[in-house]
Symmetry: C2
C-alpha cells in the first residue's frame, strides 16, 4: 500500500546527537530511536563531556556521512527545550559534513543564525518535527477504507507510543500489511514521518488525524500512536480530535498500574481502566460505530516479574479482556495481538 | 471586577465596513455588531455598488474619525475569506484617516502590501482577531473562583453566541456582576476582546479557555460563548478543550429544532438535546463536578409564533428544564435565566 500522506519525510539514516547531557533521562529520544529504528541509525555523536551513550558506535559527522547518514537527529532534551551555545559548533560541523538536522525541540532551529546561515550556504535542511504541514483540511468524518488501531491512555506518558510500536511490529511479524502512524516527535523520528498532533491548530485537529491515516486496502492496518488522555484537563482536546479523526476499529487502553495522580495537573486523580474504556468507546463510536476495545497495555516497569504476572492475570480476568505488558511480551501479549486482529 | 485578561483589546468605537457585498448573508458580522454593540458603532462605510446596509448612518472614514471612531471593522465575509482588490482603496483611506483596521477574515491584513505599508507609515494597527495571543499556558485544571456559564450546542451555528449574549444581557439587567467571554471572531469584536478558540494550537486549547475566564469574585459570572459541538466530527476537540478549560457551573444547550444533519459533515445526524446534555455533563464534570444544565435554548426562526410556543412548552415539560428562544424572550426566557442563576 503506497502512503497517500506521510509528512515530513525525514532524511534517513540518522546520526544520533547526544549534546552534552549527563543524565540518561534527557536522552529518551536517542534511546527510542536506537530501540525502534536501530537499522536507521549509523552511530552517535556528542560534545566533549557528554556522559550518556546509546551504545552505538561514536563517530564524527563526516564519518557518519561517509557511512550513508543523511541527517543528524537531536536525540536529547533539556528542561527549557532550548539549544545551548555548546551545541552550535557540533551542529554546524554536521551541516558542513553534508547532514540535514532534525529536531523535536520547542525552539526552532532556524532561530539560531549560525545554523540558519550555514544551512543556507551548504544547501542543507533544518527540520523541526513539531511543525505541522501546511494545508491540513477540516475533518469531515467520512468513513475511510482499511483498518485502524489507536493506542489511548489513562494519562500522558503511560506507554502509548511503545504499545503502538510493539503492536505494529507484531502485526508485521504476522505478515500483515501495516503502517505505524506517529503523532509525537519521537514517534515521527522513528517512523520517518507523521503528524505532530499537539502542535496542530484545534480547528484542524480531527482533519489532521484523517490526513495521517488515509484510505487504504481493506486488509491494511494503521497502528496509530495516541496522545494525552480524554481525562486530562489540559490535553483532552488533542485526544478527542485524534480519536474522532482516526475513527479506530480497535483501541488499546494504556495504563501504568500504581500511578494515582495525573501528570502536570492540579491534583487530578487518574481514571480507572474501566472508565477509560467506556468513555473512549462512547466518544469513538461517533465516527466509527463498530469501535471495540482490543485489550489493555500495562507499563509494569516498577513491578517484579511475579507481581506483574499476577496483576496482569487478575486484571485480564476482571475485565474479560487481554492484558499485557508489551515489554514483557510472552503469551499475554500474543493474546492481546490476536484479540486486536479479531 | 477588573479583567485579568482580555486580549486583544480592540480600539472602539467602530466604523462598520460593508465592502461591496450585495447579499445580506455575507454581512452577518456587521449586523451582529449593530445588534449587540450598537453603542460602539458610529456608522457604516461601503464601496460604491454595495447593496447592503445596517441602517446606521453612512459616512466616510474621516467623518467617522471626527465622531470618535478608532477603528474600521471589516463587517462582511466572502466565500474565500480573502480581501478583494476593490477593498484596498477604501481600507487605505481609513488608515489615512487615522483608523486602525480590525479583521476576522482568514487572510491576514498584513499580507497585503498596500495595507502593511500605509499602516506602518501612518502608525496604525492591523488587527486580526483570529490570531491568538502569545504566551497561552498549558491548562492545569485548577478550580478558579467565580461562577461560569457556557453555551454548548448540538451543532455549529445553532445560536450559541446569541444565547450567551442574551443571557449576559439578562444578568446585567438583574444587576449582576458579569462578563461576556467571546470565543469567536464576531463575539470578540462585540466584546472588544476574547480568545479565538478555534485558532489555538490544540495542546493549549484548555489553557486558552482557562486564560479567558480567570479567577473572579465569588458572585461574578462569566458567560462564555461556545464553539462547535462535542458531537461534530471536525470540531469536537475545540468544544472539549473549551468545556474543560471553562469548568462551567452551568451549561445551556443550544439547538435548532428541525435540523437533522450536522453542518459540513459526511452525513452525520444531529444528536438529540438529551444526548447533548448527558455527554456535556459527563465530560464537564472532569473539571467541575458541580456542573449542571441550566436549560435549553432553541433557535425557532423557522417556526411561527404558535408553533414555537407549543414546541417550547412541550420540550420543557419533556426535559423537566426551562426551554426558551432568546430572540422571542418572554416568560420562558425569564425562567431559563432564573434557573441558570440557581
Amino acid at each position: 500500500m503506497k502512503d497517500a500522506y506521510v509528512a515530513p519525510t525525514l532524511p534517513q539514516p540518522y546520526l544520533l546527537f547526544l549534546g552534552d547531557v549527563v543524565e540518561p533521562g534527557y536522552a529518551k529520544t536517542a534511546f527510542g530511536l536506537r530501540d525502534w529504528a536501530g537499522s536507521k541509525c549509523v552511530g552517535e555523536f556528542a560534545c566533549d563531556g557528554a556522559a550518556v551513550s546509546t551504545g552505538l558506535e561514536r563517530m564524527s559527522p563526516a564519518e557518519a556521512r561517509a557511512r550513508g547518514a543523511r541527517s543528524l537527529v537531536i536525540g536529547v532534551a533539556n528542561s527549557g527545550g532550548v539549544i545551548g551555545d555548546t551545541w552550535i559548533a557540533p551542529l554546524v560541523e554536521a551541516l558542513e559534513a553534508g547532514l540535514d538536522i532534525v529536531s523535536g525541540m520547542h525552539m526552532g532551529l532556524a532561530a539560531l543564525p549560525a545554523l540558519a546561515d550555514t544551512a543556507a550556504a551548504q544547501g542543507r535542511r533544518l527540520i523541526d518535527v513539531r511543525t505541522p504541514p501546511t494545508g491540513i483540511p477540516v475533518g469531515t468524518g467520512r468513513k475511510r477504507a482499511g483498518k485502524r488501531l489507536l493506542a489511548v491512555g489513562t494519562d500522558c506518558a503511560v506507554g502509548k507510543k511503545y504499545t503502538a510500536l510493539a503492536l505494529a511490529n507484531a502485526f508485521f511479524a504476522r505478515g500483515l500489511d501495516c503502517d505505524f502512524r506517529a503523532t509525537g516527535q519521537t514517534g515521527i523520528m522513528i517512523a520517518g514521518g507523521g503528524m505532530p498532533m499537539d502542535a496542530v491548530v484545534s480547528d484542524f485537529e480531527a482533519g489532521a488525524a484523517e490526513m495521517l491515516s488515509p484510505d487504504a486496502g481493506s486488509d491494511h492496518w494503521d497502528v496509530i500512536e495516541g496522545q494525552g488522555s480524554l481525562f486530562h484537563p489540559a490535553y483532552a482536546a488533542v485526544s478527542l480530535g485524534l480519536l474522532h479523526g482516526s475513527q479506530p476499529d480497535v483501541v488499546v487502553v494504556c495504563h501504568e498500574p500504581g500511578r494515582t495522580a495525573m501528570l502536570g495537573t492540579a491534583g487530578y486523580e487518574l481514571p480507572s481502566v474501566d472508565e477509560t474504556i467506556d468513555l473512549t468507546l462512547r466518544l469513538g463510536a461517533r465516527t466509527n460505530p463498530a469501535i471495540r476495545c482490543g485489550g489493555v497495555s500495562f507499563n509494569t516497569a516498577r513491578l517484579n516479574d511475579a507481581e506483574a504476572a499476577k496483576l496482569i492475570a487478575a486484571e485480564s480476568e476482571r475485565l474479560g479482556l487481554p492484558v499485557a505488558d508489551p515489554i514483557r511480551g510472552g503469551a499475554a501479549f500474543d493474546r492481546l495481538v490476536e484479540n486486536c486482529l479479531g
